[in-house]
Symmetry: C2
Subunit: 530 residues, 2 copies
């Protein structure tokens, strides 16, 4: 029997890894399989393993409970089943388990801690240099983001036309030296020059001539590196919203045959599922991937549902038209705004339509590039965050500010240069102070948005109101709820990040405001002294 | 025969007035009528006259052509018809005649000069002191407004709860000294204190107890004063968009019986029709006048159509739901935005729906009062103006900035304190430089609005594009129309009111922008040198 290496002790929601040697000849990705069955007092989990190159095979497992677990590992190249046991200890500090849907519209970690998503997008931050990756992680931590969307495949798109640090498959890319100014526009999307275009189209490897990818041979170091990045995010308490497919491609990865796609999905699932901070985004702008059909997306979804034993969050991101978020496998909406004007304003409507958490992963980025999806102000992006939050949804950040180094956060990560990211931590703290798991939109007045605790939605008078005035500039507001309830009044400047206490109000009361934009009022019921 | 006094010479689109003495006893408003028939080479016009008090009767007429006219005046108290003639001379400078609809979606003066509406709202500016009226006129002139909406009846509403300088009818208002803090909220609307209210409700004279209005006896000095104000506006080239009815009432004028309403309408029409700068707004927020039915509004419209021989512009203004602007008597839409977020953005849709000029008389006012309809920033209001303009519509201004004197432009007129009004003249000049009578929206790209000349809407390449970026902040834009046309490129800063020439562009060309909000690009086809 082969010897398996593994740790005898793993923490709850940590990643147990079982490693053994096996055949390296032929094509192990096609010719060999390995899997494990893990049994504790409260669960039995079956998990596929994977070939990690150089004769190394691995099976990973994330235990959801504490106590003793037994394992049983089988492989096509193994004479007999390998068995043994290990012990799951309590989670270390900061480990709250994976995030799941809670209270229909919200999220919570497995240990019950509420999760208020403050996400950003850096499509291929992990495929940059080590220095830039470190810089990105510092930026994420400083800005207090707790989710980042990024791609497993390299990305070919405006402002990001270079080669990545590694490729997912064996083979060589087209020699980019054959690019001339003539074929460059066909090779790249060339859409920024075209009137009427949104600047978003699939390329699908039209420039892939000259490449010789072997989609049946993964490059384990590409995936191993992504795992390291997932773990580094995990240590910072940041969810890794993995974009498994996307259309921004000159290598042909976006239009592989069905069989290769399936093998890719299984490899991704076998490698990444056991990291607690992973979310599955089937695709970015799935509707730009013209080689894929609805049946394809549903098939990928069924592969996830079959092969991810931990039921990580699953969604799919649109360009023009939404995917049908009512599909049972979709855990939450991952929305790109469809309208040039309204984005976060639709959260209330979408909540009613889908009855799932509304995550607005793309509501235009703070920036100044030529495209309308990447040139709103920091003020406007922050407004959309607050608007979404008070409507019981979750907005997402991105930054597309031009700079001499041509390093744009939205694509490369690096250093944040904008204004909005400095202000999300303040919003996050306020969300953490809401009662329950999140807010529900409440129709208080027509000229504000108002969030109340989801669980108090039916109560005639609530214990908490978060009222946001957006672009309106009132000098005061008057409220009346009832004659008895006493509210603590706080005036919140969402841009300058101040909270001014204005005493308490009962019956009909007035709140003084500064007559400028981006203000909010928080009313909290005074708890009676015992 | 009674002697009629009149001027032997009047200018085209001026106001000819024929005055005679008649009975003052009894109730002349009920008991006597007077009218005139005016005949020139190109028209015969029948116009009702009116009793102007103190035994004076008048008939007014606005000639639409030059040359000799004859008149024939008859009255219930006159023994026989009075006849004579007068001469119509060419219009004086600045007199372009009344404004009418032109090119379906736009306006032009009767002499063919395009009219680009830059309107404002001061509901009862004319019922303030002489000093304030003079100040308002100065402000209107300086800001270069060319339309003002105001009411014939006094207005009872927040920030304007005092008594007007005069009343339209004989009688005495309720003694306001009987108001106590107890009944004041019933007496006034009290709506600003109520959660969920839009702050707009009809009061309809609930506090009229104690008043003894005689709706059959007009107070001519009230109307005479309004005429003076109309004439002062006329001299400044400003259209008087007269709001004939409205719901903000504590005197009972908004709920008179049908017969009194009819008499009021006829009196208004007889007095004001012969002023070329008059527009008819049947009501402000007609849908808040719960005592009036659709049949009432249609009846008032038919009175206008019958009694206004000059076919002045006619519309009606909504609070919540639009009046049916497809009704044949409606010459243009007079819209209050219905949505808290979108207003000017709907111009394109409304144009297609109504096929009439879209005037957005209320798209929220620049201000800082407690109500969402009166507390947007000057930047946002200017943005709505540009958005409307590039979509081939016309926006309207109003100002509700709180101040120690409690004089709010939107209600009282006076001095402008905001930021947006300083920038409408710049927009107006740019509109005056558009080819033809106005702009049509053109779907150039999804992330801008673009106006092209209405008459070139079908041309594949236009001679003129006005492209507005609103709240987006591009650093550059790229355009391609064809390989031949050469465009003069101008970058317009709509807030700082600068126009930067960037040479010419042909084929694929790039426009450099500053990466901030409120920018526009104007592209004009270079005319070939002969």
């Amino acid at each position: 029997m082969e010897t398996f290496y593994y740790e005898k002790q793993v923490e709850r929601w940590g990643t147990a890894e079982f490693t053994c040697r096996g055949p390296a000849e032929g094509n192990p990705f096609l010719e060999h399989t390995i899997k494990g069955i893990f049994t504790g007092k409260h669960e039995t989990v079956e998990a596929d393993g994977f070939y990690d190159g150089e004769g190394i095979y691995k099976v990973r497992f994330m235990p959801s409970f504490e106590g003793e677990y037994s394992f049983s590992l089988t492989g096509s190249f193994l004479d007999k089943t390998a068995e043994g046991s290990f012990f799951v200890v309590p989670p270390s500090e900061g480990n709250h388990g994976p995030v799941h849907v809670a209270a229909t519209y919200h999220f919570a970690y497995a240990d019950g801690t509420p999760y208020y998503s403050i996400g950003t997008t850096c499509y291929v931050w992990e495929l940059q240099s080590d220095e830039r990756i470190a810089e990105t992680l510092d930026s994420l931590r400083e800005a207090r983001f707790n989710k980042i969307r990024f791609c497993i495949f390299p990305k070919h798109y405006d402002y990001n036309l270079g080669e990545p640090r590694s490729y997912p498959f064996e083979g060589t890319p087209m020699d980019s030296s054959i690019l001339t100014s003539e074929n460059f526009n066909a090779y790249t999307q060339g859409t920024s020059h075209t009137a009427g275009s949104s600047g978003r189209e699939e390329n699908c490897g039209e420039g892939a001539t000259g490449s010789d990818w072997d989609f049946s041979r993964f490059r384990p170091e590409h995936f191993r590196h992504i795992e390291e990045c997932i773990i580094r995010l995990q240590k910072l308490g940041i969810e890794a919203d993995l974009i498994v497919m996307h259309p921004y491609d000159r290598w042909g990865f976006s239009c592989m045959p069905e069989e290769d796609d399936g093998r890719y999905w299984q490899y991704v699932l076998a490698r990444f599922s056991a990291y607690r901070n992973v979310w599955w985004s089937l695709a970015n702008e799935y509707d730009l991937m013209q080689h894929k059909t609805l049946e394809d997306w549903e098939r990928y979804a069924s592969i996830i549902c079959e092969k991810d034993p931990y039921r990580h969050l699953r969604s799919i991101h649109n360009c023009h038209s939404f995917y049908d978020y009512r599909r049972p496998w979709v855990t939450h909406c991952s929305i790109q705004r469809q309208d040039p004007y309204l984005s976060a304003e639709h959260v209330s409507k979408w909540r009613e339509e889908y009855r799932k958490p509304i995550v607005l992963d793309e509501i235009c980025y703070e920036g100044n590039i030529q495209f309308g999806w990447g040139n709103i102000s920091g003020r406007e992006l922050l407004r959309r965050f607050w608007e979404a939050s008070c409507r019981g949804g979750y907005a997402g950040h991105g930054e597309t500010l031009m700079n001499p180094e041509n390093v744009l956060w939205w694509s490369h990560g690096g250093r944040l240069r904008g204004e909005s990211h400095k202000r999300f931590g303040f919003l996050y703290d306020i969300l953490c102070e809401t009662p329950g798991l999140g807010l529900a939109p409440y129709d208080l007045k027509w000229d504000c948005v108002c969030g109340v605790p989801e669980r108090e939605w039916m109560n005639p008078v609530k214990s908490y109101y978060l009222i946001y005035f957006g672009f309106t500039c009132p000098s005061f507001k008057e409220y009346y709820f009832d004659n008895e309830t006493e509210f603590e009044i706080e005036v919140i400047d969402t841009w300058n990040m101040t909270i001014e206490k204005q005493g308490t109000g009962k019956g009909k009361f007035r709140v003084e405001l500064p007559g400028r934009e981006y203000m909010a009022v928080r009313l909290r019921r005074e708890e009676k002294q015992k």
